[in-house]
Symmetry: D2
Subunit: 404 residues, 4 copies
């Protein structure tokens, strides 16, 4: 069922959005929030693609979106939406139609082969496939993707839980190696890679919003170039890291030396629970820590903590303490506290990315789209970490498209 709520746009082309991890917080907040904004005719809020820069870009309207996706848990979408809006921002209780709408969205059973302990712990019987090998899993995912896509345009976006930290092997370094690994049912091909491979193979643009290593392995970069399919990633930049990547510019422009940057993050949602597992957490911390060097050009003493504290719910609080030195070596400090609702910070970035990768695809761009770095903590194929500089790159790309 399409988000389109009236018949005005009946002839518009749909954009199908296939979400890996469709029952999660970002996904359900995103879908509910769009539903509500379209119904009330108010802006969704927080969308960069709603600013004037993008006004003549023929980006797909949000009311042409049609959602579907994969998951491994039992909960229904409406229930998950309620749980993930614990602060009642969207007042879902006052939106009677949304329950029916959410529960009509097509959901496919997810892949759990090689997913690691933390994730297999949240998978529920009857809501995952018991694939006997990787080829079977790929074949299932491809078939589901085609079933969902039909004859419409489609985008795949990965919003699933962070996978374990990853050491690439021969399986990942070339497409040939990857195919061989699939044949051999290798144990180091993760679900994230299976989805990414299947999407790109079927010709569907792909966005990785998580820190997991998916389409960014050399094998799948090769595939996306071969298939001429755009991909973007990785790890949405929504909170503490977002702040870091603007503050660093201040220290640089004032030539103040950052001696130390300590940050701690507390959160209580499912994302936090998965990250409470050290193998999964290290993927994320690596992603968060790398930006300092990227922004400053040198590496101060630094630490990033992520702690799962259940009572926080979807609220995420980051506290950062920065020690810097200036004239005469004088030591000074800055601290900040960021208190955000995680899913609500992520959701609009996902909408932006879906629209932009679709645009890139339509315009013939393929392979890694590093002009979308502004959305990511670990932008692929880019050493630009400053938010403003990342924005400048996106702006230039958009302006060139408009001129063309």
């Amino acid at each position: 069922m399409c988000l389109k709520l009236n018949e005005r746009k009946i002839t518009m082309k749909k954009l199908k959005i296939c979400v890996i991890g469709i029952k999660g917080g970002i996904s359900t907040v995103l879908m509910s929030g769009l539903f509500r904004s379209i119904k009330r005719g108010v802006p969704a809020g927080g969308l960069l693609t709603d600013t004037p820069l993008f006004s003549q870009c023929s980006l797909p309207d949000v009311d042409t979106f049609e959602f579907g996706g994969f998951d491994i848990r039992q909960i229904d979408l409406y229930e998950s939406a309620l749980q993930n809006d614990q602060f009642n921002v969207l007042r879902l209780d006052t939106e009677p139609e949304i329950k029916e709408w959410l529960n009509s969205i097509p959901i496919y059973k997810g892949v759990t082969l090689n997913c690691g302990n933390a994730i297999s712990n949240i998978a529920q019987n009857g809501f995952t496939h018991n694939h006997s090998n990787l080829r079977e899993a790929v074949s299932q995912v491809c078939s589901d993707l085609n079933d969902f896509r039909g004859k419409d345009d489609c985008v795949v976006v990965n919003l699933s839980s962070t996978e374990e930290r990853f050491v690439p092997s021969e399986s990942h370094l070339s497409l040939e190696g990857f195919e061989k690994a699939l044949d051999n049912n290798a144990s180091d091909i993760t679900p994230g890679q299976i989805y990414a491979y299947s999407a790109i193979k079927e010709g569907i643009p792909y966005v990785n919003f998580t820190p997991s290593t998916c389409a960014d392995i050399p094998a799948l970069v090769e595939l996306s170039n071969l298939k001429k399919i755009p991909q973007a990633g990785k790890d949405g930049k929504t909170g503490e890291t977002l702040v870091k990547t603007v503050l660093c510019d201040m220290f640089s422009i004032r030539n103040l030396n950052v001696d130390m940057w300590y940050g701690t993050n507390i959160l209580g949602n499912l994302d936090g629970k998965i990250l409470d597992n050290s193998n999964n957490k290290s993927s994320k911390i690596e992603s968060k820590k790398s930006v300092l060097k990227g922004c400053l050009g040198y590496e101060p003493a630094s630490e990033v903590r992520i702690d799962y504290m259940k009572p926080m719910g979807d609220n995420k609080v980051a506290w950062d303490y920065i020690l810097f030195s200036g004239f005469g070596g004088a030591k000074m400090t800055m601290t900040f506290t960021w208190q955000g609702i995680d899913s609500f910070l992520a959701a609009p970035l996902v909408v932006d990315l879906v629209r932009l990768i679709h645009l890139a695809s339509k315009k013939g761009f393929y392979g890694i789209q590093n002009q979308f770095a502004v959305f990511f903590k670990s932008p692929l194929n880019s050493d630009v970490n400053s938010l403003v500089r990342q924005y400048d790159i996106l702006k230039e790309w958009v302006e060139k498209l408009k001129e063309a």
Copy 2:
């Protein structure tokens, strides 16, 4: 006495720096810090002009600087330097030569005509002139400037206490009006304006690091254009406002709406004591508040407090609380605490400005130099408040100079 500590550069051209308010915190920290860095052969720290961008610009070396200036207080420079480095950053007690050096710097008695209560309260008998009228004051200042300058290059920089909030009159709107006001000994020509007028009239580049209204009145802009003398200002951007003008970019690039920005500043130095007077404080608050609109393009509910708390000494702490809304109208907050040593944040900016206005002058630029906006809270002739955008403008100017 020149900062040059050895004979290596005996043939280099001196740059004379005339500081209004030479006994204040910024000035004494600046001079002591440069002395120490030159003597030890270490970078001064916090100088933008020490970054590679400026490496082929023929900026004057800091060891060609020779200081002098005006003041209205009795304290000697060494004593003031000790008091203003209460955290003992510069370890002045371990620099025996500095006392003699500082106390050999020429100091001229300051002007107090029309200076307002807060400032006249800190002026001390025998350390100001008792000019009977404005023309006499101008004539004295011009003579002192020429005495100090001799045959060398010179720059005037205003580091004196913030003057009272200012409503311009006919006296300020044209050079003709200003000259008439001088003749009539008008009560609305302030000391800051007398120094600025004298400097520009004598052909000396002028920088206003304070929020006071000085060379930026139309009359003196006219004069600086007429005399082909560059001027820059105003109000050095060192702390809370500095942070604001990078964080705003983050909210804009994420299309997060800033609903409210509340900030409070506590400080205990002489600057704070003068600002404790409401007429003087309003000059500064006006300067601090304007940047939000400039950066965001709209005006959130906002408040800026400045409170003088003597026990803080030269330590300045700002606490800002920002309420913003995002996807679905979700309300979120960010707070930051900035703990800086005020004079140490300001001093390197003054060095940068002295070097750059000298460069501008040598290259034939005159009138308001808005390419130096990156250093100011209220950049003259510029509606660019974003720190990064201001930096880009400076960079472009420097790069053009280097190409030329």
Copy 3:
């Protein structure tokens, strides 16, 4: 209509609670919250009188409470309750009966004689009396009080907006002077004093939860002693000051010297709007500032700011910065940020006070009840400001009562 929701306690004695400012935030949150907790059979939350210490004290049950009161605004109670629970804590939308219940509560028109500008600005035509003089006002209030009380026990509690800062005159220093001032229609008898006088005169225990000067003027202390009626006050200790009065004990017990205590409070509710008027604000600031000396035994440099920032709504955020010195004179700092929902912090204290003053009255106590100091920023007749010490005093009183 009584809060009692079933017939189980039909024979219990009612306690009538007459609220000055019944349409305000504290009052509507208090009534709605009690309704909900009784209906659901869950504790109201935050009540000291629900702790074991009070278990054998024969305090009145909350389901014997019956509310009524005075106000000067038009809004109905349900609408005000909705507005004052902007974070939807009480989920009033899911409580259909509460609207009817709230709107059946008797409300009497309020007194505005000598109320000052800030308060007269929020008074609405048709919802106040146009008394021609003080005696008329007193007579009306007494009549309304008796109408509401009927034959039941009753308590009056002042939750109205903070009145202007007050300088006592002959009118306030003795009962005789007060009566004369009423006869002469003096301009310095405030509404708060009229309500207090009327309540005590009619033999009703009285609690002042505001910083206004009401029953604590010598004239009314005299009256409460004469009439043998207990009174308690003043200014509920709910947030920043609450924290202060525990932290001070820490500094004292460690013999750390507090050099400076700076605090700023931002809030956006009606209370904040009234306090945005400097005459009204000074009442509150005086109340907040006095505790440091009371707790520490000396007076550090200190400042308390209260700023009305509309977007904050009922959220109140305090930021305090404390500079202290220890061994060898070492300077150290502590800061805290308190983020509370103002009405929800105040409401349970009001319930505690209502129950306790009723108990005091039943047990024959009269005049100022300083054993209730634990609830107040400016406890009457008490120089004990430490929260723990105040609690000890209350505890001792309760334990003695239980033994008796």
Copy 4:
């Protein structure tokens, strides 16, 4: 050499203070700070025992103290004092006699048998004994203690690095078991236990300021009872935990439910470096976490982080985030930031404890002195964690002594 700087008190009885870890931060700051305060005739600062409560207790004057102790590192005391006063609080560079004085203090080689990796890593050749077994170590320590003590009164205080987390065995549960373990050269008798055993055996009062398990094992409690020697401990309460144990009273007295308490500590001194080893850190975290249950009576979700960040130096910053619920279940938060100089917070507590255990000893008290709980994070034999309640206990003890 005694701290006594003039001959006025030549006949006063000395108090010898033997410090385990005498070259550490607390110890060198303590000695330097006392030297300076005595020389200048100013209070040391931060001493509870300098408050009026203790004025008639015949506590030993600080100028009767004579220091000595054990260590395992090479650095000399003056050098260590300079390093540990990085903020130059004590201006040691302006105290020429202190170098000589510090370097005349007798230092004995320390014990490293069974000390664990983190500590053995900082031990330096030539500055520890290579004892071949426990009995040899005990015999050496006893001989050194007697050498240092001579005929004077003496107190032993443990200020050494935190030992690894400890699981007690038969070796620790009885004095007999302990003696047997010494005979058998058991691997689970730590240096901290060897010092404690030796001190008590030789009849010297003993204070454990660290979180290590030392005299508090049943075997040594038995010994201190048998020998009639007082002991006190453990883990000085100087920062984050200090604040916790006053704030908890506030939540209790307001009946606000603490849902979650998250705290993180960053520090850069040697203490921090040792705690960076997870076995050592867990001793400390256990000590820090237990207070919440002790103060509140229930256990909220909680986490305590300690992170070693070298650039922090001796500065220790704790950030705590507390989530609590009140009336109607409303969720609110409090955060605090504590910025203290670790050694300067600890030093005065050590002085207090030395004086008080000496007093206890003189008055015939022996075994665990739980009336000194106010100084400790993990007070032995006490379930009182509230700072104010702990103070009340000490006060009562002192007042009884004064009456006697």
